[in-house]
Structures are given as structure tokens and as C-alpha cells.
């Protein structure tokens, strides 16, 4: 059986959903960041699949993935810095303890 794009996309969708569940379910800030990375990667996979499908314009797709990776790196760095700052303040990384924005 030959590989079809929809196989890859299905995997991408599953990985993305797993990432979503992780973000909504876990309480540690760093774990949540990891799940976000998971979602971004799933998105990258979809991009590459489409790039491969696109043929000549496919190079652009890979460039976008390049950019996304860069962004993810920057975001991870800044996000972790925030977690560190929060930890210094609250002595915990539990996001449920950061609950002042309510009625």
C-alpha cells in the first residue's frame, strides 16, 4: 500500500489532539509548555506533508516550517523564563495557583 498524504495528516491530527489534552489536563507549567511543543510539531508535520504534495512550490512550505521552528524556540525560551520568574514569586509551578483573574 502506497503512502498517502492523509496518513501523515491523520497522525498529525492525533498528535495535535494529544497535545491539546495535555495542555488542558496537566498542572505543571513546564509540562504544559512541552505539550505546546507537541502541538507545534504536529503542525509542522502537516506543513511538510502539504509541501511534499505541492511539488515545485513545496520549498516554500519547508521555509515556513523553518520559521515555525525558530518561533517555537524563541517561545520556549521566553516561556521558561516566565516560569522561572513565577516560581521565584510563588514557589510553585502549579498553574492552578495562579488564579487571581476571577470574579
Amino acid at each position: 500500500m502506497a503512502l498517502e498524504p492523509r496518513f501523515f495528516l491523520m497522525v498529525s491530527a492525533i498528535l495535535f489532539s494529544l497535545g491539546v489534552v495535555g495542555v488542558l489536563t496537566r498542572r505543571g507549567a513546564i509540562t504544559i509548555l512541552m505539550c505546546v511543543e507537541l502541538m507545534l510539531n504536529a503542525g509542522n508535520l502537516a506543513f511538510i506533508t502539504f509541501a511534499r504534495q505541492a511539488g515545485q512550490q513545496g520549498a516554500d512550505g519547508q521555509v515556513y516550517v523553518f520559521f515555525i521552528m525558530t518561533l517555537a524556540a524563541a517561545e520556549a525560551a521566553v516561556g521558561l523564563a516566565i516560569v522561572i520568574a513565577l516560581f521565584r514569586l510563588r514557589d510553585t509551578t502549579d498553574v492552578d495557583d495562579v488564579n487571581l483573574l476571577k470574579w
Binding site: V20, V23, L24, T25, R27, V95, D96, V98, N99, L100, L101, K102, W103
Partner: protein, 656 residues
């Protein structure tokens, strides 16, 4: 001067402004002087205008002045117009003349009252409104005055707003004012419908235009004219206290006595008569309406007279008398004797105002006692008051030579010549009763022994000059005022009825075409032989004399004799004493259901209307409480809500 007639109603407004805004800081003398001066200026302007009017030829006595447009509507054009003709001339002289005398009287009478300035402010306001009423050249300007005098009546009746009035019914002075206003309002409602009906039919509310349009009206509009006639008359019933809307006038005696004299004797209550006379062309085309006017007038005349027989409050006796005499005036208009009606309006203004002012003098001297059964023998201590009131009583009883005689006689003659024997009979009987209760009042008040307390006897005194001079002037007018209307039959055919000459051209009589009114009037009178006329006059005088003798005989020495008669006809006596229970009837049939309806609407407003508003508020509150629960503060919950939205949108996009 004729071009300045618009100033006549406006000058008293200057008095209103000054006394209203600064009256409390001015000395008492100044307040009274300003008020009287304002009226005096109006009086002088009126005299000047009438003088100029009289210099015009007989059929052309009319002058109109317009101050600008009020309603420039497409199908109705109303202007701020004033006009003067013989009818308005009579009214304006009576109003400003008698008004002036009463203002002077009030300076003395109200001297010990607080709120002195407020009184004169209201009095001047009343004068302005009444003069607007009689000088307006269209129905709307007249209506402004009509409503204005109603307002002033309310303000002045309830002048002593914190005092009780009638112990028997529990009415306070404020209640009396309210009663007057509301009753008037009912009449005004009918009046307004009539006015609107006219406006829709003729596209104008100008008196001259309406009269002209009615003269050329086609027979199909007859029903409309009758309806309008009756509607307008209903308004007059309210304002001039006829059946069924007279109930406010006796309770209007809660106001100060000068108010009773001015408003409820001489001027405001005569507005209805003026209006009916002004619309004579309309009534001429609607004989059914005229019949209604005559019937109601005659009935009221005798009905009210009977209530005066048993009344004990000196002012209430005079109030019933006023209602009765107004009935005479309307009966006169109803049978076509408009000139007689207005003549009686004038003479009545003189002697009724005098009677009220005299009553005020008596009350003043009796330290505010108003019950005639507690008076007696005042003749010696209050001679001026006694003799002037005697003049007025003789006039109202129709004794020959006095003013009332000539005017009443003309009304009776008018009724007879119109072929209306019933009206003549009722009015003649009422005349007898009138003479009776008036002399009863005189006898109980001034003759016999003093029946009051020693304290009152000690303070008994004649009133100051400022109060007695107007009494004397009015007494003179009550005597000579009638001499300008002496009928032809008494002068052996010579026509010296000046009043008739003056007024007749301004009135349209039924059956008469253009301008033949005077000839028709005279012709009708001459249709009877002199003998018939003299016979009728004699009969009327005889009836009056019978009434006088009865009264003097019964009451000369107090009420013991009358008391025995009353005891023997207890049911009849009770009927009269309780005023036929008309007020109680109205309360049961009109007021109580109305209050029940009001309470229902109040509850509706509170529960349904307010309930709806409150419900929306409560809904918002509950919604807020629910939505509040979504703001948990936990980031993960917010992310979950985010996901929910994303899934929904994606599903929508995918399904497309």
C-alpha cells in the same frame, strides 16, 4: 384706544408678576395698591374702548386686534386675537368695574391674613384670565381664559389650604378647591369636544367666521350644530354651576369671601352665559339645543332656590341663590331672550357681589361666625352693612324700581312671548322662593334678638371704610343699574331701553335672517297687548311680595316658628337640609367606582408594569450570577472554553 384692547387682559399680569415675585418683601399697602391699580388701569382702558366703540354706527360696532398667529395649521388657523363688540363691552365693564371694587374691599378684609401677597397675585391672575375670556375673538383664546379662571378658582378656593371647611362632610378647603376644579374639568371635556367638532367642520374657531358659516349652513349639518350646542352648554354647566355640575359652587364658599363675591357671583360663573350668548348664531340654527338650555336653566333655578330655604351658613344661602339666578340667565338665553339674560347677568353682578361683600362684612363683625341662626339684631351695630344689603335684597327679590326687577321682568316677558308658559311658570315660582329665602336671611341676620355669644357681641362693630365704600357704590348700582333697561311698556310706548339697543345688534335670534334681530325682538314684544304685560308684571311682583311676607312673618323673631313648621314636615325638611343627597349620589355612583378603578390601575402599575421592569433587572442579575461562575481564575478552564469555540468553528467550516 380700540387698538389697545389687548392691553386690558395683560395689565393685571403685571400685577401678578410684581406681587408674585416680590410681594412678600413689599409692605402690605403696596401690595394692595399695586393689585388695585392694575385693575383700575384695565377698567380705564375698558371705559375708553367702549366709549370709542359707542361712537361707531350701530351695526358696525366691532373692532378686532390680532397679536399674531398661534396655530398656523393647514386646515385650522388660530390667531392671538382680541375683539370688542357690544357684548364684550358689557362684560368687560362689569368684570373690571366690579372686580376693582372687590379688590379695594379685599385690602381691608384680608388685612389680617398671612399670605396677603399670594391672595392678590391670584386675584390679579384671575382678572387677567377673565378679561382674556371675554375679549378673545376666537374659541381657543376664550378657552385659554376659560381654563385660566378655572385654575384661579381652584387656587383661590383652596387659599386656606391647611384649614378644614365643612365639619359635616369632612371636606377641607383644599378638597373644595379640588372638587371645583375636577367638576369644571368634566364640563370642559365636553366643551373641548364641541370646539374640536366645530374646528373640524368649519376649519376656523373665530367667532365671527363661525357665526357667518352657521348662517349659511346647509340643513344636513343640523345634527352637528345641535350636538355642538349641547356639548358647549355642558361646558357652561360646569363653569356656571348648572344641573348636573353645580355641586362645586356651595363648597366653593370655603374660599375667602371676596373670592366668593368676585368669582362665584359676578364673573367666572357668568362665563357660561357669555359663551352661550356669543354663540347665539349657532344656537339659532339648533332650536333643540336651545330647548335643552332653557329647560336646564329653569330647572336649576327652582331646584337651587329650594335648597336655599333651609341653609344656615350665610354664604351657602347666597351660593344656592347664585346657582338659581344663573339658571334664570340660561333660561333667558334658551328662550331667545339673550339681551334679558345678559342684562340680568349685569344686575346680578351688582347685587350678588354686594350681598357677598356684605356677608363678609357681617362675618368680619361676628368674629368669623357664619351661621345665621347664631346671629340676629345686627341692624343696630352694623347700619351701613344692613342698609346696603337691604338694597341688594330688594333688588334680587324683584321689587319694582330696583335693578333686579327690570332684568327679571325682561326674562319673564321673554319667556312668555316665546310661548314658553312652563318656563315662565317655573321662573315665577322660583322668584317667590328667592324673595322668601333672601328675606329669611335678612331677618335672621339683622332683626330680632342677638343669638350669639357674649364674646362675639363684645367685638361686634361696623366694618372699616375701605370695606363699606364698595358696599355703598354697589348698593347705588343695585338701584340705578336697571334703569338703562326699562321696557317700552312702562314708559307708555317710548323706547328708552338703552341696554336693548346697545346689545341686540350683536346677537342672532332664531328665525331671524341677517340683522333683523332687533326688529324681531321688538316685534315679539309688541305682539302682546300692554294689558297682558302689565298683568304679568303684577303677578310676578305679587308672588315676590307673598314670599317676602311669609319670610318676615316666620323669621322676624328668630326661628322658633319656622322650627315648628319644619318639625311637622320632617321628611321634606330633611330632603332640603341634605340638599337632595346629590353629593352622596355622585359619591356612590361616580366617585367610588372611579376610586376602585384607580386602585386597580395603581396595582396594575405596581405589579405588572413595574414588575416587568423589575423582572428584566432580576433577569440580568441572574444571568450575571450564572456567567460569573465561568470566571474561575484557572487558566486551564479558560483554555477549555477556548477549545470549545475552536471545535464549534471547525465543525462549521468542515460541514460547509
Amino acid at each position: 384706544m380700540l387698538d389697545l384692547i389687548w392691553l386690558i387682559p395683560l395689565v393685571p399680569l403685571v400685577g401678578v408678576a410684581i406681587n408674585g415675585l416680590w410681594g412678600r418683601r413689599l409692605p402690605l399697602r403696596a401690595v394692595g395698591a399695586i393689585a388695585c391699580l392694575a385693575v383700575a388701569v384695565s377698567l380705564l382702558l375698558s371705559i375708553g374702548a367702549v366709549w370709542q366703540l359707542s361712537s361707531l354706527p350701530e351695526g358696525a360696532r366691532f373692532h378686532a386686534v390680532s397679536l399674531g398667529t398661534w396655530l398656523p395649521l393647514e386646515n385650522l388657523h388660530v390667531a392671538w386675537g382680541f375683539a370688542i363688540d357690544p357684548l364684550s363691552a358689557v362684560m368687560v365693564l362689569v368684570v373690571s368695574g366690579v372686580g376693582f371694587l372687590i379688590h379695594v374691599y379685599s385690602i381691608g378684609y384680608m388685612a389680617h391674613e398671612p399670605d396677603y401677597a399670594r391672595f392678590f397675585t391670584y386675584m390679579n391672575l384671575f382678572m387677567a384670565m377673565m378679561l382674556t375670556l371675554v375679549l378673545g375673538d376666537n374659541m381657543l383664546v376664550m378657552f385659554v381664559g376659560w381654563e385660566g379662571v378655572g385654575l384661579c378658582s381652584y387656587l383661590l378656593i383652596g387659599f386656606f389650604y391647611d384649614r378644614p371647611f365643612d365639619a359635616r362632610t369632612g371636606l377641607s378647603c383644599a378638597d373644595a378647591g379640588r372638587k371645583a376644579f375636577v367638576t369644571n374639568r368634566i364640563g370642559d371635556f365636553a366643551f373641548l369636544i364641541g370646539v374640536l367638532y366645530l374646528a373640524v367642520s368649519y376649519g376656523t374657531l373665530n367667532f365671527a367666521s363661525i357665526s357667518e358659516a352657521v348662517r349659511h349652513a346647509d340643513p344636513a349639518s343640523h345634527g352637528m350644530l345641535v350636538a355642538v350646542g349641547i356639548l358647549l352648554f355642558l361646558g357652561a354647566c360646569g363653569k356656571s354651576a348648572q344641573i348636573p355640575l353645580y355641586v362645586w359652587l356651595p363648597d366653593a364658599m370655603a374660599g375667602p369671601t371676596p373670592v366668593s363675591a368676585l368669582i362665584h357671583a359676578a364673573t367666572m360663573v357668568t362665563a357660561g352665559v357669555y359663551m352661550v350668548t356669543r354663540m347665539s348664531a349657532l344656537y339659532a340654527a339648533a332650536p333643540e339645543a336651545m330647548a335643552v338650555v332653557a329647560a336646564v336653566g329653569a330647572l336649576t333655578a327652582i331646584f337651587a332656590a329650594t335648597m336655599g330655604i333651609t341653609a344656615r351658613d350665610i354664604k351657602k344661602i347666597l351660593a344656592y341663590s347664585t346657582v338659581s339666578q344663573l339658571g334664570y340667565m340660561f333660561a333667558a338665553c334658551g328662550v331667545g331672550a339673550y339681551v334679558a339674560g345678559v342684562f340680568h347677568l349685569m344686575t346680578h353682578a351688582f347685587f350678588k357681589a354686594l350681598l357677598f361683600l356684605g356677608a363678609g362684612s357681617v362675618i368680619h363683625g361676628m368674629s368669623d361666625e357664619q351661621d345665621v341662626t347664631k346671629m340676629g339684631g345686627l341692624k343696630a351695630k352694623m347700619p351701613v352693612t344692613f342698609w346696603t344689603m337691604m338694597m341688594a335684597t330688594l333688588a334680587i327679590s324683584g321689587i319694582p324700581g330696583f335693578a333686579g326687577f327690570f332684568s327679571k321682568d325682561e326674562i319673564l316677558a321673554g319667556a312668555w312671548s316665546a310661548g314658553n308658559v312652563w318656563v315662565w311658570g317655573i321662573l315665577a315660582a322660583a322668584a317667590g322662593i328667592t324673595a322668601f329665602y333672601m328675606f329669611r336671611l335678612i331677618a335672621l341676620t339683622f332683626w330680632g334678638r342677638f343669638r350669639g355669644t357674649d364674646e362675639q357681641e363684645h367685638h361686634l362693630h361696623e366694618s372699616p371704610t375701605l370695606m363699606t365704600v364698595p358696599l355703598v357704590i354697589l348698593a347705588i348700582l343695585s338701584v340705578v343699574g336697571g334703569w338703562i333697561g326699562i321696557p317700552a311698556v312702562m314708559t307708555g310706548g317710548a323706547d328708552v331701553n338703552l341696554f336693548h339697543h346697545w346689545l341686540a345688534p350683536a346677537i342672532t335670534l332664531p328665525g331671524a335672517a341677517h340683522g333683523a334681530a332687533e326688529a324681531a325682538g321688538h316685534g315679539a314684544e309688541a305682539a302682546h297687548s300692554a294689558a297682558t304685560e302689565w298683568g304679568l308684571i303684577g303677578l310676578a311682583v305679587a308672588i315676590a311680595l307673598v314670599g317676602i311676607f311669609l319670610a318676615v312673618g316666620l323669621y322676624r323673631r328668630g326661628q322658633e316658628a319656622a322650627g315648628r313648621i319644619a318639625a311637622s314636615v320632617r321628611p321634606l325638611y330633611n330632603l332640603l337640609r341634605n340638599l337632595y343627597w346629590v353629593d352622596e349620589f355622585y359619591d356612590l355612583v361616580v366617585l367610588r367606582p372611579f376610586y376602585r378603578l384607580s386602585r386597580f390601575f395603581a396595582a396594575f402599575d405596581r405589579w405588572v408594569v413595574d414588575g416587568l421592569v423589575n423582572a428584566s433587572g432580576i433577569t440580568m442579575d441572574i444571568t450575571g450570577q450564572i456567567v460569573k461562575l465561568f470566571q474561575t481564575g484557572y487558566v486551564r478552564n479558560y483554555a477549555l472554553m477556548f477549545l470549545f469555540g475552536v471545535v464549534v468553528i471547525l465543525a462549521y467550516l468542515v460541514s460547509m
